[in-house]
């Protein structure tokens, strides 16, 4: 795309934002109480939040790069960059966030039939249906393909029984996408299907999990004779692992993205630390500099891989690398923030808000979406070609 036409897009967008983004939505709030998750039971925190979602959805701006026919705005990557720059310029809140956008959407766009895309994507884009994911099972841990939840073939539907864990926001979601074992005879990775399940039925129940960081969005989800019609499968029967792998890669990139970047969104660690400390001691300063150098460089790596992907050069198993480096770094970063916070950081809801909770939460980063150990094994095997 030529720079000129990009400039045109920018001007148009800017005008649209100026006119349509409510003032209350221009506080850039990214904390839980500022996020709009959507869904059947969503209660808007304000009229502005509702209006903002509706206006964005009408333009496809909740999912700016999705095709227009599925509820997106069909933006190119260059336009998308402009989009986020302009949103950032007026400090606009994100109109909608959801696992439907991050996870199921990409999977459907890649593996779904045209009908499925038409059926499921627009409600995601409009924030009407809220999704959660059902991958892990108790005891499975890193061995994600160790799926015990079983789907019995009943002709036009599967009868599903089993239990999922780490199903974020399952207690607030309308639908769940889940890995279900549909062939018990096949080898571990071969008998799994990727199914879409309406949670508004008697056989689906959820229970929140309390984490060391406090209350959490994680839930356990139980299936007892839950019914999933045959057309609610993504990809082929017993080939759900392909979909899962695709999404895992996607998830890793998302998690590693938390490290920020040179693009201006990431705040300098030193600035954050200086808020609570007048003068950093040698140890903290040295650690902070190292962390800042690594943060910026990982941010650049994220950029580089995006550029590579766009140039048609596969980044290979880069997502495992980014996931590992990004999450380990994020943990270090929060250790430093705790140090800089001193005793103020040791209280729940103390002068530094939820700093301790955030710190504890980061400890899961190197576990969820594949542990650091699994990431290193992936790199060792697939990138370095070391014997398994």
């Amino acid at each position: 795309m030529s720079d000129a036409s990009l400039d045109g897009f920018r001007a148009e967008l800017r005008a649209w934002l100026e006119e349509n983004c409510p003032q209350e939505m221009r506080d850039g709030k990214m904390t839980e109480d500022g996020i709009c998750w959507g869904g059947k039971n969503w209660v808007f925190t304000s009229d502005a939040q509702k209006v903002w979602l509706e206006r964005c959805a009408a333009k496809g701006y909740t999912v700016p790069t999705w095709p227009k026919e599925y509820g997106g705005a069909g933006l190119t990557r260059d336009q998308e960059k402009v989009f986020y720059e302009e949103m950032g310029r007026i400090n606009a809140r994100s109109p909608l966030q959801s696992f439907g956008i991050w996870m199921l959407g990409p999977a459907l766009l890649h593996f779904g039939s045209h009908e499925q895309k038409l059926q499921y994507l627009p409600p995601i884009a409009r924030g009407e249906i809220r999704w959660c994911q059902g991958y892990s099972e108790p005891g499975a841990g890193s061995d994600l393909a160790n799926v015990q939840t079983k789907g019995e073939d009943k002709g036009d539907h599967w009868l599903v029984n089993g239990q999922k864990i780490w199903t974020s926001y399952a207690d607030k979601a309308d639908w769940i996408f889940a890995l279900v074992r549909t062939d018990r005879e096949a080898p571990k990775h071969k008998g799994i299907s990727f199914l879409l399940c309406d949670m508004e039925q008697p056989g689906v129940e959820t229970r929140p999990i309390k984490m060391i960081s406090g209350i959490s969005p994680f839930c356990e989800t139980f299936f007892t004779d839950a019914v999933i019609p045959k057309d609610q499968i993504v990809g082929e029967e017993n080939k759900g692992w392909d979909v899962a792998k695709y999404l895992l890669t996607h998830e890793r990139e998302m998690i590693s993205g938390g490290a920020g970047g040179l693009t201006g969104t990431g705040r300098a660690l030193g600035a954050v630390l200086s808020e609570t400390m007048e003068e950093m001691d040698a140890t903290l300063r040295a650690d902070a500099m190292r962390c800042e150098i690594d943060t910026l460089s990982i941010g650049l790596t994220l950029e580089r891989y995006k550029d590579q992907a766009e140039a048609g050069q596969g980044a290979g198993d880069a997502s495992a690398m980014l996931k590992y480096m990004g999450t380990e770094l994020n943990k270090q970063r929060h250790e430093l923030m705790m140090s800089a916070g001193g005793s103020d950081a040791l209280e729940w809801d103390g002068p530094l808000g939820n700093r301790a909770g955030d710190w504890l939460r980061t400890k899961a980063n190197s576990i969820e979406g594949g542990t650091s150990e699994v990431m290193l094994s992936i790199v060792s095997r697939r990138v370095l070609g070391l014997p398994g």
């Binding site: 001691d281 040791l346 209280e347 899961a364 190197s366």
Partner: protein, 371 residues
Amino acid sequence: MAKLVKTEEENMLADMARGFLDGAAPVSKLRQMRDDGVTHDPALWKEMAEMGWAGVLVPEDAGGSDMGFAAANVIAEEMGKTLAVSPFISTAVIAATALRQVSGARAREALGRIASGEATYALAVDEGIKFDPDATQMEAKADGNGFRLNGRKQFVVDGALADRLLVLARTEDGLTLFDIPSDRAGVERTKSNMIDARDSARIEFTDVEATGDDVLGQVDQAMTVLKPAIEAGQAALAAELTGLAAGAFDMTVGYLKERKQFGVEIGRFQALQHRAAHLWCETEVTASAILHAGRKLDEDPENAGLAVSLAKARATATAKLAVIEGVQMHGGIGMTDAYDMGFYMKRARVGAEWLGDYSYHAERVAAARGF
């Protein structure tokens, strides 16, 4: 100096303590207290006092068991293993050591009340986010025969429930340490909601009256009394953190042996083996620093500063590594509140900050070593 090996008495004390704590104060007890919003169990403290723990540093003729600093470390280390909740360090170690520096009937009686478990203490020093006694701003203005205290303290460990407070304040020509009841007029305590679920408070002092009798030691000379007390507290806290690291480590190694992934025990994975082995090496080295700090405090207390800072720095780093590896190696389950590892991680964090963090003690080591 006595050998760097636990004596027969110390081993017996450790065994006894472990037996008692496994029964009376396992991690599940902390969990229950946390769930109930309770941060101190007077009955438990009474039992500890009866075993001589409250009086571990109280002279025998004042009613204590007077076992010494190394013994106090042994008890603290065992407490660390099960995350036992008690005002042991604040009261039996810090306050008792401070009071021991002072002669006279008043201090003697106070020591007796500590030994019997009647009185608990908290040390109110911090005013900013970091431990830094020299930076004390709180004012104790001479007023007639006494003083008026004004200012605020934070991170007063055990401070919301302690019977008495040791308060550091600035007087005309230096710092002075006051020993006052926590219910004295003008003292306003706000309980802090701590991540380790233990007692700590922010305290505001408004025109609190103190008499000359409330001064511990000499006016303007707080450090004569406080330095040994703080060092004893740092050493005991280091011991607690070392016990904590050992507790977290044992839990982790146990999990490595039992948990299966991809069809085998995860303890068979060499990468985890080497990390666990490295962690054990770190705990062994730290154990030496703890033992040494106890010996120095007992035998050469004037020059124990380097040994104590070494112990606190090492223990802080080791406990941090132990809980980070502990959570990571447990995977998702280690992140759930239902599992105990999180309690270790939170207490390790609080212990890291209290009485000087890694950087603080590293700087003291550097200073003692001439750089």
